[in-house]
Subunit: 431 residues, 2 copies
């Protein structure tokens, strides 16, 4: 079993790097702003490597800055079972999203060490770079390169969106700056895994609402990210009659408003998180608006339908409902079809969850404290799943709130999740 | 009469500082990006002072960086008649808005000099700081301080909106940096004018559509600028059900879309030029949106009605049409009631226009090549009008397009405007 106190302490120790947005007086009552490849991300990476080395791990860093810490087993010719997630956060993020998966992995290694447990093959922990897609707008881009689903150059050339709007930095520039542009190829070919297990907070309300403790994750809903550019004409706010306008802001605002009922009707989600106006002055119509659209649905087919309906409606708004007319252009940033995880991995997670939950005093009306479920959020596991057996473990999330400083998972629930991770890894190791 | 070739050459000479967004191969086929108090604004200020000194003017700079260049008359105890406008531009601005008024003023002084004409009182040219309100979001803020309608500290503390979003500079910092924080009080009390005449491009389509050459400006429509903040809750785009959202972007987009039909119905204008999302990542709902709303109407009463209807509708959207609800907060940036210029000033402009147009070969079906009109845009003259007799002269604007790099007024029309300015100033000087 994982050590609840030790895991909680280590988790909060790691969160000294990038702590932000305090919401209470206790040092743990804080959110995070540890954007990928910023100074606090460098600091927590250094801390992670020191911690893993002190546990006897061998460290390697690849050309995307992914950090692999591997504890040897009996047979070290076999590829390792990796426990992976990410240490980067949203600009207004919490202390659990991603962080729990990496710290839970370190906790598993500590339990193995203190029991002098020798695994059949090697077992390790991986910190994937820029999973959030917050600073560089492609989620899980570095596990994507490892899986050879995202070209290395595309990833390196990604430009930040959260700062330096006039001269945004690229991923490669920032990897170089913080000293994490590794030499090893970022590829599953030269760096294969036996399996990938990811412990993560649910980030939604289901486990809490159902009074359950563990989610055995069977898959991930489909989603796409788009950057949408609306071009109008800059002109004077006081002298341009309404009928003569090509108002890109008004046109784009109508598009954002129009996407929502499409999502509602089809049972999916649409979100605009970024909306930028150029040139951006009070009394000039913007010539250009760039906004993002994140669309999600459980089914690939319905996601396609949502996309098609948005495309048709945005076109109509640009051409027929924007006075003299605007132009609208779509760029795909992320395409993540619905994912089904590996049945063997799901099974060992389920067995481990059954075992860990059976020792708990609570019981559940339905007879079990865990459930199978689908993830609403994307994860590095979506990409590893294309190249090695993969599955995930979810823990409850207070009020279902994530990507927010108040994001919370109790120390007890974090430790339960780490114990399920431990049991799943050892079971898979035996296979 | 103004010298057409000389005025055109000087105008384009001054536009070498801050030229941007070329739209053709000729060096005059360019727009401008000369934001208030940036390096190019400093350069054109230095150029303006040198030019005015070479014409025998005395220069003074006040604590808002307003530059006053005065040519002595017979009686120099009398306050000067000032010809004023501005040398700053929009980020995607043109070569005429504001610039014509200052350069037209210099041209008038050149005509007086070459005719060794001695005016009764002194006559001068003023370059007002940050008229556009583009970089620092209060239009005509520095003539506002001079008129004691805007407190000096409020103006000095205004933060830029077009760059450095993380650490925006204030007007005072930038005045200091470029060396234009003058010692003289910015006040009509210590620095009174006999009158203020402003030559400006119309920025709208009326003169061109009517085949006329000169607008005798009787007043300016009413307008207000607001900064509107919508607060929701940041949460995850993939795991937060639609019904559980406090989506500030969706809420604000609905507000922008809702303002337009209110303006349409009441015969006014509404424009959103800035729309910012925080924290601004693809997969997190923004907790905060800040957008601007510029509303205009010919009548003060109808402008108030537009404002009230927008306030009620935005409140309804925030509370009843944003799922779990958002908060909306309004901040007034500029309040510019409808302006009526001084009858004596209007009369001398009209006499001068009649005189200048009578010499033109063109004729107009209605019998005159000038017309009385109301300005859609605000100007420094709105503020000077509260403290001294003021009026304005408009010239045609190609396709009515302004605040855009292709903004254009022919050399002939620029010179006609400067000739009308000359005649108006000399007539007023005689009064
Ligand atoms: N787990 C997580 O928040 N990842 C970000 C990717 C997504 O937007 O789903
Ligand atoms: N003339 C001009 O464009 N001034 C800017 C102030 C306004 O927005 O009306």
């Amino acid at each position: 079993r994982a050590n609840q106190t030790r895991l909680a302490e280590t988790l909060h120790e790691s969160c000294q790097f990038g702590a932000a947005h305090p919401y209470g007086s206790d040092t743990t009552e804080t959110g995070m702003a540890r954007l990928s490849l910023d100074d606090s991300d460098k600091a927590v990476r250094d801390w992670f490597i020191k911690s893993a080395e002190s546990l006897g791990c061998k460290i390697s860093v690849d050309e995307m800055g992914n950090i692999f810490a591997v504890r040897p087993g009996k047979n070290n010719d076999a590829p390792p079972i990796m426990m992976g997630s990410h240490l980067d956060t949203q600009p207004t993020g919490g202390r659990y999203d991603g962080i729990l998966g990496v710290l839970g992995g370190l906790e598993v290694l500590k339990v193995l060490n203190e029991n002098s447990y020798e695994t059949e093959g090697p077992v390790g922990v991986v910190d994937w770079t820029n999973e959030e897609g917050a600073r560089f707008p492609k989620m899980a881009v570095s596990s994507g390169v490892w899986a050879e689903q995202v070209p290395l150059e595309d990833a390196w050339n990604l430009k930040e969106v959260t700062a330096n709007h006039d001269s945004p930095k690229t991923m490669k520039e920032e990897l170089t700056r913080i000293g994490y542009l590794g030499k090893n190829p970022a590829s599953y070919r030269s760096n294969p895994f036996a399996a990938h297990f990811e412990l993560h907070i649910e980030q939604g309300p289901i486990l809490e609402d159902q009074g359950q403790k563990i989610g055995v994750v069977e898959g991930v809903q489909a989603f796409k990210w788009f950057e949408i550019t609306v071009k109008g004409r800059d002109s004077h706010a006081g002298t341009t009659p309404l009928y003569a306008r090509k108002d890109a802001v008004l046109s784009a605002a109508r598009m954002v408003a129009a996407a929502n009922p499409i999502a509602k009707r089809l049972g999916g989600l649409t979100t605009t998180g970024i909306f930028e106006t150029k040139p951006g002055t009070v009394n000039t119509m913007a010539h250009t608006v760039v906004f993002t659209l994140d669309i999600r649905h459980m089914k690939n087919e319905t996601l396609s339908q949502m996309e098609e309906e948005c495309r048709a409606e945005f076109q109509r708004i640009a051409h027929e409902d924007s006075e003299k007319g605007c132009e609208v252009d779509w760029k795909l940033l992320v395409d993540s079809p619905a994912v089904e995880f590996n049945p063997d991995c799901i099974r060992v997670v389920e067995q481990s969850a059954t075992d860990v939950c059976s020792a708990l005093p609570q019981t559940h009306p339905d007879g079990k404290l865990w459930r199978r479920m689908i993830s609403g959020a994307g994860h590095d596991s979506c990409y590893t799943n294309t190249r090695c057996p993969t599955s995930m473990i979810f823990t409850p999330t207070k009020d279902g709130i994530s990507h927010n400083p108040v994001e919370y998972c109790s120390a007890e629930d974090c430790a339960l999740g780490a114990s399920v991770l431990l049991g799943a890894v050892l079971r898979y190791d035996k296979l």
